[in-house]
Every structure is written in structure tokens, then in C-alpha cells.
């Protein structure tokens, strides 16, 4: 096996291994960290933009609501002004189209009133008041002819400004009324006032307008008394209950919080030449109901997209980290393989070196003892000394035994070479078993071999084959407690293959574990120093040799590994 780490000492590689196993513990943390960081970078912009969008939408909704309230206030103001102007113009027309004398006639005035009623509706009475405040003529339900208005505020105002509109008051039949007065001049230059009382028709106009979003439109006078009924503030002539905003020439917005009504948007406008302030009220809560709905929807979508993003990131990071873990494990496996090969090579070199160094003195002992034996045989003096001969035979036999051992050590050392050559399965097995026979004897493990003499040679790398056998037999030994038997058999198979099976009577492997035993780092002996690499290395080696490995096992009955090996050279060697 070639490896870039071949020259590294086993000690250094041991460090590499422990460093790697340290790394293995951190995958959960790596995964968590990358998940959190990725999620953070993905979600922060999403949430940030959602918040911005939320605020912008809310702001524009608010502005929109205010604009709508303001627009409604302006339009309503126009309607109210138009309504009042129409009445005022009607009165003005009456004053212009009749002579002063005609106007002073109560009869004529009654006719005019009925025409006004016919044309406009709502006119209750009409009166002519001279510059001194004395009502010269009157037509209407009350007997007000001759009444003196000189000290009344509305009279002074009319005389000063030319026109006035009164506050709402409960007049005829307890119906709210307003009166409109206009100052006029007769051809002789004397001023007089035409004053008409009309039924208060504005609530009806407003009720047609205030339809949506719990809106409210009402008039309030400058004293803060309600002039039309209000949904939020009370009935006609009740106090408004809040300070009036300052007088301005255009429509303005203010907002008010109220415990019962919630937050209100109020658009208001002073109606010129009248004591009235028009107010349009909208409930923010009602206005924002669709916005709240949209908000809920937005949050729902945000939540959904965040979940999708999180699930996606979770899946991707989990996949990446799993791949990283697998790659690291693969890397560690190769490190380990290299280390293992290196170790085996070192052991091989050591064995070969020791054998070689011992062989030479052994050869000398052999020759010297042989010489003594020769001399003893050829000299009559020692010929009959059986003790001498026995001793020499023992020496020579022991030398032979040493020779056998060193020869096996030497062939074990040959594994450093990586040439695939034909070799006898039996020979390699013998070499491997020399290391194990003593242990087998001690543990009363019976080793039986049945390998046919005519079994074809296998084309193998010597060292790899040794390693395969060593690994499997070592496993078999550790599976068996004291007493047991190891059976090694081999048969020729079709297709230039032989099958070598190594069966033990050990503890066996459960069906569940059986599927994983060739996986790297799968070990049931992790506490007892197992790395979980032995069988995965064996599997890899068998594949490198162009063979395959199978396993059968029953718990408490034993395990049988069958290795198929080629007997012909493959074209594509690793």
C-alpha cells in the first residue's frame, strides 16, 4: 500500500488520529453555529424590510385617513355654506324685489313667507326690523310684530357686518331652528334688517353624509355648544365637552384620545359669517380595521416565510455538515489505513531484520554443531557416546526450529512488497497462524484447516492477504471465549476464483449489526479499544485484490467469513 504518510512515525499519526477524533465531537456545534449564522443573515433583512414596510404602510394609512377626513370636512363645509348662502340669497332677493313699503305690510310678508316655504321649505317666519331694532312687520306663528330687538347681540352684529346667522335654538314646536338676518338699505338710505327663521335642516344633510367607518359630522358653535347631534359628543344644544381648536381659515386636523371612543381623527373648519365650526370625526379604530386585518396577514406571511427559510437553512446546513462529517470520517479512515499499513510495514521490517540477523549466527551454530556431530560420527572415540549424539541432535533440531521460525518471520516481512504474485493459500495461512497458535493453545481453541492440495494459487499481494487473514482470524479469536474451534476451508469456485472461509464458534453478530460491520468506525468494542476499522480495512483490501467478502452469522453460534479471491491476474490492478 502506498501512502504519503508512509514516512511518518506511528507516533505522529497517533497525534493526527486523536486530533481527528476530537474534531468528530464538534459537528453538532458546527451545525448549530452555521444554522444560527445563516439564519441570522437571511432573516435580519427580511424582518428589517418587513418592519420598514409595516411602518410606511401604517404612516400612509394614517395620512390617507387624515386626508379623507379633511376632504370630507371641506366638502361638507361647502355644502353647509351653500345651504346657508342659498337661504341668505333668498332673503336678499326678497328684500331687493320688494319696496320698503311692501315689506312693511304684514299681509305681503305672509305671502312672501308662503312663497319661500313653497320654494325652499323650512322657513318658519320672517320679520322686518328697522334701524332702531323695532320689528315693523312679521309673518309667522308668533305674535312678534312690534318687538324690540335693539339690545340683542345678533341685531348689533347684523347692523355692523351686514349679515348674521344665529345659534341653534328650540323654536316653534320644540324643533331646532336657526335664524338668518340681512341688513338692507331702502332707497332713502335708511337701513333695515330682514330676519327669517328656518328649521334646522343641517342634521338631515349630515345624516346623509356620515355613513362609513363610524364617521361623525356635526356643527358646534363658538361657545362649544353642539348645533347638530353628534355620534360621539352628544345631542343638540349639549356642550361639546372639549376645548375648541383655534380659529383658522382652512381645514385642519387634530386627533383626540377618549376612553370610550378610542382614538379619533377630527377634521374641522370654521364656517365664515356664522358662529359654526364644522367637525368631521373618524374613529381611528374603525378606519384601521382593514389595516389591522392586513397587518395580521402580513405577520402571517412573514411567519410563514421565516419558517420556510428556517426549514430550508436547517436542511441545507444539516446536509452540508453531514457531508463534512462523512468526508472527515473518510479522511480519518485513510489516515488510519495509512497508519495501519505503516505499522504493519514496520513490524514486517523488524521481523525480517531480526530474522536476518539471527539467521547468520544460527547458520554458524548449525555448522559448528554439525561439525561436532560429524567428528563424533567419524571418530571411534565418541561414536558410542549416545549422550553426546542426543545432545547434538537436540541442538540441531533446535536450530532447525529456529530456522523455521526465522523463515516465517522473513516471509511475514515480505509484505512490504506490493507485487501481486501467485501464492499458495496454505503457505500464507501458515505464516499468519504462527503468530496465533500459541494463543490458540492457551485458550484451548482448536484450529482445523481443510485446504485441498490441488487448490490453485491466488494472485495476491502477499502483505494484503496476510492482513486480511490476520484481521479475520483475530476477530474470530476475540469472538470466542475459552474453548472454541476455528475452521478454515477453501474451495475452488467457478470463474477463476477460490473461496476461503474462516468460521468460528464465537458469540456471533446480531442481524442488525451484521449490516454495518464493514462500515468504518462501526465497533461494538469501542470500550475495549476497538477502532471499528479492522473489518472496513479488510473489506477495502479484499476489494483491492479483486475479490469480495461475505459474512454469515448467528448469535451465540458463530460467524463465518468467506473471502473470494482471484486465481488469475486482473487487467486493471489498483
Amino acid at each position: 500500500m502506498t501512502s504519503p504518510y508512509k514516512d511518518k512515525s506511528p507516533l505522529q499519526q497517533g497525534k493526527v488520529m486523536s486530533h481527528l477524533s476530537g474534531e468528530f465531537l464538534n459537528y453538532r456545534r458546527i451545525w448549530l453555529l452555521s444554522f444560527i449564522l445563516t439564519a441570522l443573515f437571511a432573516l435580519v433583512p427580511v424582518i428589517f424590510f418587513a418592519l420598514i414596510d409595516y411602518n410606511l404602510t401604517q404612516k400612509s394609512m394614517e395620512q390617507d385617513a387624515e386626508a379623507r377626513a379633511s376632504r370630507l370636512a371641506s366638502n361638507t363645509w361647502r355644502s353647509v355654506s351653500f345651504f346657508l348662502d342659498e337661504r341668505r340669497n333668498a332673503i336678499d332677493y326678497v328684500a331687493r324685489s320688494n319696496t320698503r313699503a311692501q315689506l312693511s305690510s304684514s299681509k305681503r310678508l305672509a305671502a312672501i313667507l308662503s312663497e319661500l316655504r313653497f320654494s325652499f321649505g323650512g322657513f318658519t317666519d320672517i320679520g322686518i326690523i328697522n334701524a332702531a331694532g323695532y320689528q315693523e312687520a312679521y309673518a309667522g306663528p308668533y305674535k312678534l310684530a312690534g318687538k324690540d330687538y335693539k339690545d340683542q347681540a345678533w341685531f348689533d352684529e347684523t347692523m355692523a357686518q351686514g349679515t348674521s346667522v344665529s345659534d341653534v335654538f328650540l323654536g316653534h314646536r320644540n324643533v331646532p331652528h336657526i335664524s338668518i338676518a340681512i341688513r338692507h338699505r331702502s332707497p332713502n338710505g335708511a337701513a333695515f334688517v330682514v330676519r327669517a327663521t328656518i328649521e334646522h335642516q343641517l342634521p338631515r344633510i349630515f345624516s346623509q353624509l356620515k355613513t362609513t367607518h363610524r364617521g361623525d359630522i356635526f356643527l358646534v358653535n363658538t361657545q362649544g355648544t353642539l348645533q347638530t347631534p353628534s355620534r360621539y359628543f352628544g345631542r343638540v344644544l349639549e356642550p361639546l365637552g372639549m376645548a375648541l381648536p383655534p380659529r383658522t381659515g382652512e381645514t385642519k386636523i387634530l386627533s383626540q384620545r377618549n376612553d370610550q371612543t378610542g382614538e379619533l381623527i377630527i377634521a374641522y373648519r370654521y364656517i365664515p359669517k356664522t358662529p359654526f365650526v364644522l367637525m368631521v370625526v373618524k374613529s381611528k379604530q374603525a378606519l384601521f380595521a382593514p389595516w389591522h386585518e392586513a397587518k395580521t396577514q402580513l405577520i402571517k406571511y412573514l411567519g410563514l416565510s421565516i419558517s420556510v427559510i428556517l426549514v430550508w437553512i436547517w436542511a441545507v446546513t444539516a446536509y452540508m455538515v453531514r457531508r463534512l462529517k462523512n468526508l472527515d470520517r473518510k479522511r480519518a479512515k485513510y489516515f488510519h489505513l495509512a497508519e495501519y499499513a505503516n505499522k504493519m510495514a514496520s513490524v514486517g521490517r523488524l521481523a525480517a531484520g531480526v530474522a536476518h540477523e539471527i539467521n547468520n549466527p544460527l547458520a554458524i551454530i548449525n555448522e559448528k554443531a554439525g561439525l561436532i556431530k560429524d567428528m563424533a560420527q567419524f571418530k571411534a572415540k565418541y561414536k558410542e557416546d549416545t549422550r553426546l549424539h542426543d545432545a547434538l541432535d537436540v541442538i540441531l533440531d533446535s536450530v532447525k526450529r529456529c530456522g523455521r521460525i526465522t523463515r516465517q518471520l522473513l516471509s511475514f516481512g515480505r509484505q512490504t512488497q506490493t507485487i501481486a504474485v501467485p501464492m499458495k493459500l496454505r503457505t500464507v495461512l501458515d505464516e499468519v497462524l504462527i503468530f496465533l497458535t500459541k494463543e490458540a493453545e492457551l485458550r484451548k481453541i482448536n484450529i482445523s484447516m481443510d485446504i485441498p492440495e490441488d487448490l490453485p494459487s491466488v494472485i495476491c499481494d502477499h502483505g494484503k492477504l496476510q492482513q486480511i487473514m490476520l484481521n479475520i482470524i483475530n476477530n474470530a479469536f476475540s469472538a470466542m471465549s475459552a474453548k472454541g474451534s476455528l475452521t478454515i476451508t477453501a474451495q475452488k469456485q467457478s470463474g477463476d476464483m477460490i473461496a476461503m472461509s474462516i468460521a468460528d464458534t464465537g458469540c456471533g453478530i446480531s442481524e442488525q449489526n451484521l449490516q454495518e460491520i464493514f462500515e468504518p468506525f462501526f465497533s461494538t468494542k469501542t470500550n475495549a479499544g476497538g477502532t471499528g476499522l479492522g473489518l472496513s480495512i479488510t473489506y477495502g483490501l479484499v476489494q483491492e485484490l479483486g475479490g469480495r467478502i461475505e459474512v454469515k452469522s448467528r448469535v451465540n453460534q458463530g460467524t463465518e467469513f468467506t473471502v473470494y479471491l482471484p486465481t488469475k491476474q486482473k487487467q486493471n490492478k489498483d
Binding site: A352, N366, D374, K400, L410, I419
Partner: protein, 123 residues
């Protein structure tokens, strides 16, 4: 039959020569390749038994040298190192049967010497 033994282990070759002598095989020995070449100049040998690993010159090189001086000679190799590579080269040069691993059994060496001698005679 006259045999030349070459091995850098002096004790080994000298004893081996002596033992072969007991078995009626005349053997000279040399502890270095140079000595061996010198011996060949003066004597005639049928077979040379060469150690594969020797300082200065290995057994195969020495074989080439000896063979060029005495083409009729047969060779047996003995080695203390049984590496695969050596084994293959040794076998291809000497034939599997004539490549022996130390410690060598004297009887099998004698047997091999005899069979080589017979081969040489039938040639």
C-alpha cells in the same frame, strides 16, 4: 567433484568446507569475493556455493564473474535474507531448487551438490 564455498562468515564457510570434506566432497572456501576469484585462478571447481549478501559484491555479481572465467561451473546460492525480491531473482538465476535459505541442512546441500554434479556429467 571440487566445490568452492564463498561466504563472508568465515566460521560458517570453514566449518562447512570441513563437513563436506567428511562427506567426501573436496571443498575450498573464501571469505571475500576477491579471494574466491583468486582461488579460481589457481584451481578448477565444478560447483560454487555463494552467499547472496556479501560486503562489496553480492552473490549474483560474483556468479557472473566466476562464470565468465569458468563457464562450466554450476552454482548454488545460500542466503540469510529471504525477501521476496531476492527469492525471485535468486530462483530465476539459480533455479528454485538451488536457492537455499540459512541455516542450511547439510544433507540437502550434499544432495543438491550431487544432483548438480550428475547434471554436469550428463551434459
Amino acid at each position: 567433484m571440487k566445490v568452492l564455498l564463498v561466504d563472508d562468515e568465515k566460521e560458517l564457510v570453514s566449518t562447512l568446507a570441513q563437513r563436506l570434506g567428511f562427506r567426501g566432497i573436496e571443498a575450498d572456501w573464501a571469505a571475500t569475493p576477491q579471494e574466491a576469484i583468486a582461488l579460481l585462478d589457481q584451481n578448477h571447481y565444478d560447483i560454487a556455493v555463494l552467499d547472496v549478501q556479501m560486503p562489496g559484491m553480492d552473490g549474483f555479481e560474483l556468479k557472473e564473474k566466476l562464470e565468465s572465467a569458468a563457464p562450466h561451473m554450476a552454482f548454488i546460492f545460500i542466503t540469510g535474507h529471504g525477501s521476496e525480491e531476492c527469492y525471485h531473482i535468486g530462483c530465476s538465476k539459480a533455479g528454485e531448487a538451488y536457492y537455499l535459505v540459512k541455516p542450511v541442512d547439510i544433507d540437502s546441500l550434499v544432495e543438491k551438490l550431487n544432483s548438480l554434479k550428475d547434471k554436469g556429467e550428463t551434459k
